[in-house]
């Protein structure tokens, strides 16, 4: 699976180039499904925030990039729908655009919906921002636990083998310093990256490449 794990979406030309490379064709020729689900689990999520994400009016550019077509894939609705209906939607799409919010809530619904089991077979590029990226990691770290999962721990899907600290040094998030990221990483036991909003992590068949017009840091256990 190909992943573009961002902190805040397609914020600059370098990340945009990486997205087009992963798609293998222009955005205007690519079909996308957006997944707003993560937003529902976060105290910072709101109906208006979900609307801004879906309609491409947020500060995390994703849906506004000029896709050939755009649809909404609502993970919380999938368990009450026939799989024969929604599985082909996911199989046919070129990109999954995944909102931030609460990573463990999103991880829970990735499992409940069955979408996680389909991931290895999908042709789509997974484009996440914030929690939409963190959900792919083995664990998010206690600092980021908000919504309590039934398992009670901080484990996420583990599609990649490193953890992510997003929004590092963001002016609106004074706690997201590089020093805080270093402390966070120290307790993880897995490799980790702290990335700012101008940075993305490109993963193709397990090969990791950092794409950045900002700054980032790698931590090793």
């Amino acid at each position: 699976m190909r992943l573009l794990l961002t902190s805040a979406g397609i914020k600059n030309a370098s990340i945009d180039d990486a997205l087009v490379e992963l798609l293998g064709k222009p955005i205007a020729e690519s079909n996308a499904l957006c997944i707003p689900t993560g937003g529902y689990g976060s105290p910072y999520g709101s109906p208006a925030g979900t609307w801004r994400f879906i309609t491409g009016n947020s500060d995390q550019p994703m849906c506004e990039l000029g896709w050939k077509s755009l649809g909404v894939l609502e993970l919380t609705a999938l368990p009450s729908m026939d799989r024969e209906r929604w599985v082909p939607w996911v199989q046919e799409t070129d990109a999954l655009l995944v909102s931030g919010g609460d990573a463990l809530y999103l991880s829970h619904w990735m499992r409940q919906s069955g979408l996680v089991d389909l991931l290895p077979s999908l042709d789509a590029v997974w484009v996440g921002f914030s929690a939409g990226s963190m959900v792919m990691t083995p664990r998010i770290g206690e600092d980021f636990v908000g919504w309590k999962s039934p398992s009670g721990d901080d484990s996420a899907l583990g599609v990649v083998d490193f953890s992510i600290f997003p929004h590092v040094d963001h002016p609106d998030l004074p706690e997201n310093t590089m020093a805080a990221a270093e402390q966070w990483a120290a307790g993880l036991g897995v490799p980790a990256y702290a990335i700012d909003d101008d940075t993305a992590i490109k993963v193709v068949d397990g090969t990791v490449e950092l794409v950045s017009e900002g700054h980032w840091k790698q931590f090793t256990p």
Binding site: I54, T55, H108
Partner: protein, 181 residues
């Protein structure tokens, strides 16, 4: 969900066949009923209580009914100050029942019973050229199977319910089963 693209069209206000979100609201938010059971009530109930309007998409009326109940939103409706604006299934779900013709998704309880917030049933999209089955003749047969007043209405018609029921129309509509009122 209908096709994912239809959900996007509805939310982003790009559905000229059934305009709702594009009307120029001060703010628009998405209330996802299937997510509410896993969301704190303290968070979402105030948001619903503060909204001026709920814009309710069409799709499958029984599926919507199921999630209106599962989410707890159905229980809140009587106390809300918001105006409920439905289209197609979003309107039909307010009826006591929708009629067997419109049952697709089967609720666990079976049947065609819906919320019963209003005392009449609705047959939407009457004579819509894209829906050749939605004729007045079929509406009449549908109404014959119901024991409540029933409106067949075209896409230029709405039913305004306050303390009374008023039909607002620049198109055509018909009331069946008046004797049941």
């Amino acid at each position: 969900m209908g096709k994912p693209e239809l959900a996007w069209n509805f939310i982003s206000g790009q559905e000229p066949r059934c305009p709702m979100c594009e009307l120029g609201w001060k703010s628009v938010g998405v209330l996802e009923l299937t997510a509410l059971p896993s969301t704190d009530e303290e968070k979402w109930i105030p948001m619903v209580e503060e909204a001026d309007v709920l814009l309710v998409n069409g799709g499958d009326p029984m599926y919507l009914y199921y999630w209106m109940r599962e989410s707890g939103l159905a229980d809140l409706l009587p106390s809300l100050r918001a105006v409920y604006v439905g289209l197609s299934a979003g309107s039909m779900v307010m009826a006591p029942n929708i009629g067997e013709d419109f049952v697709r998704w089967e609720p666990p309880t079976g049947g065609d019973e819906t919320l019963g917030v209003v005392g009449f049933s609705m047959y939407p999209h009457l004579d819509n050229p894209d829906l050749p089955d939605n004729t007045m003749a079929n509406a009449e047969k549908w109404a014959a199977g119901l024991s409540v007043p029933a409106y067949a209405m075209d896409d230029e018609t709405a039913i305004k319910v306050n303390s009374s029921v008023e039909v607002v129309s620049e198109g055509h509509w018909k009331l069946f089963n008046l004797e049941a009122a």
